[in-house]
């Protein structure tokens, strides 16, 4: 699949004008939080970009990330940018299968050793020797370790690859872990989300193509340009939060008026992603706009972070044993101290010796 065609040539072949391409570069620059003046640099870099080899490994996942990337628009510039890389191995998208597919992977890994971009979606099961997910008879762990050796960088697409995701959720029967739990010696970009926003995936790839470097990352290894602000801070319903106007149920007047969904369990305040600004389906909408609170899917352990419908400030229901036990200990200890104090009082009263004036006037012996 790899060839020497440059991006503009490919775009032209798809009927995309130069003007549309530059417009796209401008919006990409804005998305990546670059100064407006950088748009021509983005265009220039993309103009020159040769199609880098990309190996996409799908492990313990649901293909939602690939669906998000490929199905949301057809064709759009984002999809074409994706065409502009040489996707040498991807289960779902490649035509080859079986031995031929694995051979394509082996060839790309050999030919572009040290240069290819490794994209991973899905978590990696470690329990019982990794038998819970295998490809061509090999465990995911084995395949990841082999492919990571020659990778220039790894992009962990989706919350499963970035943080373990749903397979990692309690009780984690397969011992699923994130890419970063296994690979320690390569730069890893976490593009979390269940699934991630398509333009965020393409934006990260564009950044890599433009600058040849990794974008600036946050504490969880996510590109700051897309994960720098919380959903809550960029939410169009935020003014209602500040005014104290909340929907109490999904069908009350507040819900119809589009008030804040905090009380219905929205995880927007602790979720960092670009949903509220970039939105989904070509900027149509995002979950909160559709009337449902944010689930927090781009954060670690989002599946086990209490109920989706429990407000963020409310306690997560757990066993009351500790509380009841402590209260019982308190009552017992209090009663014991009370009884002891009584005993001291009674003792003092019993040992009290009455003294009269004559006693006091007695000379000291």
């Amino acid at each position: 699949m790899s060839d020497k065609l440059s991006l503009p040539a490919i775009l032209e072949a798809h009927g995309i004008s130069r003007r549309e391409f530059l417009k796209f570069c401008g919006s990409l620059a804005a998305l990546m939080a670059l100064p407006p003046g950088m748009a021509p640099s983005v265009a220039a870099a993309l103009d020159k970009a040769q199609r880098p080899s990309v190996i996409w490994l799908s492990f313990q996942e649901c293909t939602g990330c690939t669906e998000s990337l490929s199905r949301s628009h057809n064709p759009t510039l984002e999809a074409l940018i994706f065409d502009a890389i040489s996707l040498d191995y991807h289960h779902t998208l490649q035509a080859a299968s079986g031995e031929a597919a694995e051979a394509a992977r082996a060839t790309a890994m050999k030919q572009f050793f040290g240069k290819y971009l490794l994209v991973v979606d899905g978590s990696i099961p470690l329990k019982d020797g990794g038998v819970y997910s295998t490809i061509a008879g090999r465990s995911n762990l084995d395949m990841l370790q082999e492919a990571a050796k020659g990778a220039a960088a790894i992009v962990a697409v989706g919350t499963c690859a970035a943080f373990g995701g749903i397979p990692h959720a309690n009780p984690n029967p397969t011992g699923a872990v994130a890419v970063s739990d296994i690979i320690k010696d390569k730069p890893i970009i976490n593009v979390s989300g269940c699934p991630p926003i398509p333009v965020v995936i393409t934006g990260v790839l564009a950044h890599y193509l433009t600058f040849g470097t990794l974008p600036e990352l946050d504490g969880l290894g996510r590109p700051k340009a897309f994960y720098g602000e919380s959903i809550h801070d960029r939410c169009y319903r935020r003014p209602f939060y500040d005014q104290g106007k909340f929907a109490k149920t999904f069908d009350d007047e507040g819900a119809r008026n589009g008030w804040c969904l905090f009380e219905l369990g929205c995880k927007g305040p602790t979720t960092f992603n670009a949903c509220a600004t970039t939105k989904w389906n070509q900027g149509t909408s995002f979950p909160i706009e559709s009337g449902h609170g944010c689930l927090g899917c781009s954060e670690p352990n989002f599946w086990d972070a209490g109920s989706f419908y429990n407000p963020l400030s409310a306690p997560i229901p757990t066993s009351n044993k500790v509380v009841l036990g402590a209260a019982a200990v308190g009552v017992a200890a209090g009663a014991t101290i009370g009884l002891w104090n009584r005993h001291v009082q009674t003792q003092a009263r019993r040992e009290h010796v009455a003294v009269n004036v004559d006693d006091l006037e007695k000379p000291h012996e």
Binding site: A305, S319, A326, G330, G334
Partner: protein, 227 residues
């Protein structure tokens, strides 16, 4: 040390811990302490008053609860800062605690009922004023030689304990210093610390204050002193 801690527990994990087991432990310690102090205090009882009451004064205890809660005019004139800061702190603290909508959600979750809240910019301003009041209380204690002499560890500890939830809440709301998730976790943790230690410090006055005032008023009433 921080890095070791970070590798063991992510920000989200800490937040989950504070909302789950952390809250249970804090509530447990609070109930333990309150039961213990309650038994301890009330089982002491009072010596029976064998003297005949000098005055018939029904409701003297209840009236005292009210009258002693109002600042005395003489105090206002002598040291206006004292009642101003003390009232400012208590009103501000209770308003931020009970009228911020996310806090009301906590009450709804535990007690099953709720009440209307205030807009968040107003709570924000109140939190700042309350923090200033805490600083005022600390300054009053440190600058006055007499107060400094009679202040012990407990007096400073309760100031820190009540200031921490305000400070972390303010920083979390404004996304200052640490990430929101971590600051929120620290905010909840500081509130849990306050809850758990309240019975064991002079902050137990939240429960004993009114009882003590009733006793004072009632005893004074029996002795013929008007409340």
């Amino acid at each position: 040390m921080w890095m070791i801690w970070k590798s063991l527990m992510s920000e989200t994990d800490l937040l989950l811990w504070t909302r789950g087991p952390g809250f249970q432990w804090a509530l447990g310690l609070f109930l333990l302490g309150m039961a213990l102090r309650g038994f301890e205090l009330f089982s002491l009882g009072r010596r029976r008053d064998l003297a005949a009451p000098r005055a018939h004064s029904p409701g003297s205890g209840w009236r005292t609860i009210f009258t002693r809660s109002l600042p005395k005019w003489s105090t206002w004139r002598r040291t206006p800062a004292t009642p101003l800061i003390a009232y400012g702190f208590h009103i501000g603290f209770f308003a931020t605690l009970f009228l911020f909508p996310p806090h009301i959600q906590l009450a709804l979750n535990i007690f099953g009922f709720s009440w209307p809240g205030l807009p968040s910019p107003l709570i924000d301003a109140l939190a700042l004023l309350t923090l200033l009041a805490v600083a005022g209380l600390a300054a009053g204690r440190l600058l006055d030689p007499v107060k400094r002499l009679i202040s012990g560890f407990d007096d400073y500890a309760v100031l820190v304990l009540s200031a921490l939830p305000l400070l972390t809440g303010y920083f979390a709301f404004h996304h200052q210093i640490l990430s929101y998730t971590l600051m929120l976790a620290l905010h909840i943790l500081s509130a849990e610390l306050l809850l758990a230690l309240m019975p064991f410090t002079s902050l137990v006055h939240f429960a004993t204050l009114l009882v003590a005032r009733w006793y004072n008023g009632d005893i004074a009433g029996r002795k013929g002193v008007a409340s």
